[in-house]
Amino acid sequence: MPDGSGHMQPFLDQALADSASVPGAKVDWLADLRGRGASIYGDRGLPGRRDEYWRYTNLNALGKNDFELANGGPAVDVPALPHRAVAELASYRIVFVNGRLRPDLCVLDDMPDGVLIAGLGDMIAAAPDRLEPVLGQGLDLHEMPLAALNTAFMRDGMVLFVDAGVDVDKPVHLVSITVPGETPLMLQPRHLVVLGDAAKATLIESHIGSDEGAYFNNLVSEISIGEGAELNHYTFQEEGPAAVHIAATALNLAAAATYDGFLLQSGGLIGRVETRAILNGSDADCRLDGIYLGTGEQVLDTTTYVEHVAAGCRSRQVYKGVLDGKARGVFQGKIHVRPDAQQTDGHQLSRALLLSPRAEIDTRPELEIYADDVKCSHGATAGELDAEALFYLMSRGIPAEAARRILIEAFVGEALSEIRLSQVAEDFSAHVRNWLSANITVNTAD
């Protein structure tokens, strides 16, 4: 449905029609926030080639389909979590099926004082005042048109509040399961994480979907980390093969805060994860790492923007991709150093392994630096498996496919070795092995 300016704004009518009946419709600040989201999205439309950071990831398919807003719907059979080690880990678990909280699947007993884990929908109904100072505060909707769309629709998601000084005793596991029916589904989850000063938490996210059926998961996470607080954040993006997964994460770090993020992307037909990290307080530490595994006609896009506002902060990004078939990888990363951010230490590295001649990577690293006393770097490599190493392995009797596999596992293994939570590392490795088994034919017998 193009408007006068010729761009597409699918979903907008639905959001507007919905605005009177949505939970919290009568809460003024919330209605205003949703309205602002609708109007920014209305102005911008679905991002496309004219948008600087959307050149490589085409969303036109979204405009052609009719998507129905997911609302939990009838009880569906929920597939088992593919992450065995994490599933067995003692954790607080909050589960969403088709976009809505499923209290029956959650494990949220005995939460310690100072920790709140709840559904956003419940919070809107019961305690909107607690949301007002934070919801929508951590991100610039003009920079993220689909986060604006999410804002227009938002009604459920996870709220994680940790009071100052509290160390959450177990990891928090956010599980999103999507099982679409005949009609393609649209999900607009909104997650909110606020750590008070010196608080500590570990958050694991699993995004999984059933094998069939199209859906559009457009999620937004606002994460705010207080002074000296620490968040370890691990994400599995393993959506169904016909899914479009668009995630926007807005990170705000106060002085001496630490964020350690690791993302595994391998699901969806299109997967795009954009992280905007703003280092507001001095001496903050931000790590954004990840691996992506693409095959078939997948497009997997990692977009980062790290803004050093305060002095003496460190940021480090290492992304590694393995692309087979006709898959396309996108890495766009920008480090922006403001004039006051002296002694910034900012590094970024993108490495891609192309296993097939038709696989492709588009890389766009950027440094924009306005302070003079900084250490910043970026680097990008893309290439095939090292022929010398391959020959060396084969010259010892290791079959070609097994040798390829050994080298690919080594390539991603380096990144996985830095993950601190062993269960997460184990599940990431298992996923990589399964992916290789499914996509690389291994022939050990001759």
């Binding site: 084969m394 010259s395 050994i406 080298l407 080594a410």
Partner: protein, 251 residues
């Protein structure tokens, strides 16, 4: 029947002729040395025999153990018992040396119809061989060749050979870059593997190695052809006279 028979072997790299008619026969139980100046085609011969991509055989044939060697892929040749100790062993970050060696050993065992060794048995087996080569556990634990000195890499090559127990071992300048103590260790390792079933092709630039590993035959390679063959005394003659006259003979 000869273990290895190379007949009139011609090979090119990027259309450039490097081997120009190599003839060489090695019987089981024999150690042959190939000597020759830099650039004469020694490494090329070793790569053609082990099946590296990019080397095109334009004429001739190689019969190994009664089979057409050139028909086989590199990994197949290795499983059939061909081993190359590289002149420049390859560093492979992120691949644990022990895991690599175990994968290789088990691929060979499976091929021979023997059962695979589990991690514990394999470690014991390797440790036994490593000790004789002055290779400690710390070296075994590292990634393949990563951060090793030149001499350490050469010792690791010999360890791999000892573990994989090839029928035909090709050692490409295993002596280069070794000090006298390391040369002794490596030579002892190689000599320990000499046996009636096994053939060896020692490629070297210097006569020195042949004091420690005494060959049955010595060949001089120049301009991609064997221009002279003899017994171990040929190496001494070469050492005294240099390659000059052989080079001229090959022109």
């Amino acid at each position: 029947m000869a273990l290895l028979e190379i007949r009139n072997l011609h090979a090119t790299v990027d259309d450039k002729p490097i081997l120009n008619g190599v003839d060489l026969t090695i019987d089981a139980g024999e150690v042959h040395a190939i000597m020759g100046p830099n650039g004469s085609g020694k490494s090329t011969l070793s790569y053609v025999l082990s099946g590296r991509d990019g080397y095109e055989v334009t004429d001739g044939e190689v019969i190994y153990d009664g089979k057409d060697l050139l028909e086989m892929a590199a990994d197949e040749r290795a499983r059939e018992g061909v081993f190359l100790a590289f002149q420049y062993p390859v560093e492979i970050p992120g691949v644990a040396g022990l895991t690599f060696l175990k994968t290789a050993a088990n691929a060979l065992r499976t091929h021979r119809g023997e059962g695979e060794l589990d991690a514990m048995d394999f470690l014991k087996f390797v440790r036994g061989k490593a000790e004789a080569l002055d290779i400690n556990d710390e070296m075994l634990k590292r990634a393949v060749n990563e951060g090793f000195s030149g001499g350490e890499k050469k010792r690791m090559e010999i360890l791999q050979m000892a573990v994989l127990e090839p029928k035909l071992a090709i050692l490409d300048e295993t002596d280069s870059g070794l000090d006298i103590d390391a040369l002794k260790v490596v030579s002892d390792g190689v000599n320990a593997l000499r046996g009636p079933e096994r053939g060896m092709l020692l490629i070297t630039h210097y006569q020195r190695l042949l004091d420690y590993i005494v060959p049955d035959r010595v060949h001089v390679l120049a301009h991609g052809r064997i221009v002279k063959s003899g017994d171990k005394d040929l190496a001494l003659e070469l050492e005294a006279k240099g390659y000059g006259e052989f080079m001229e003979a090959a022109e």
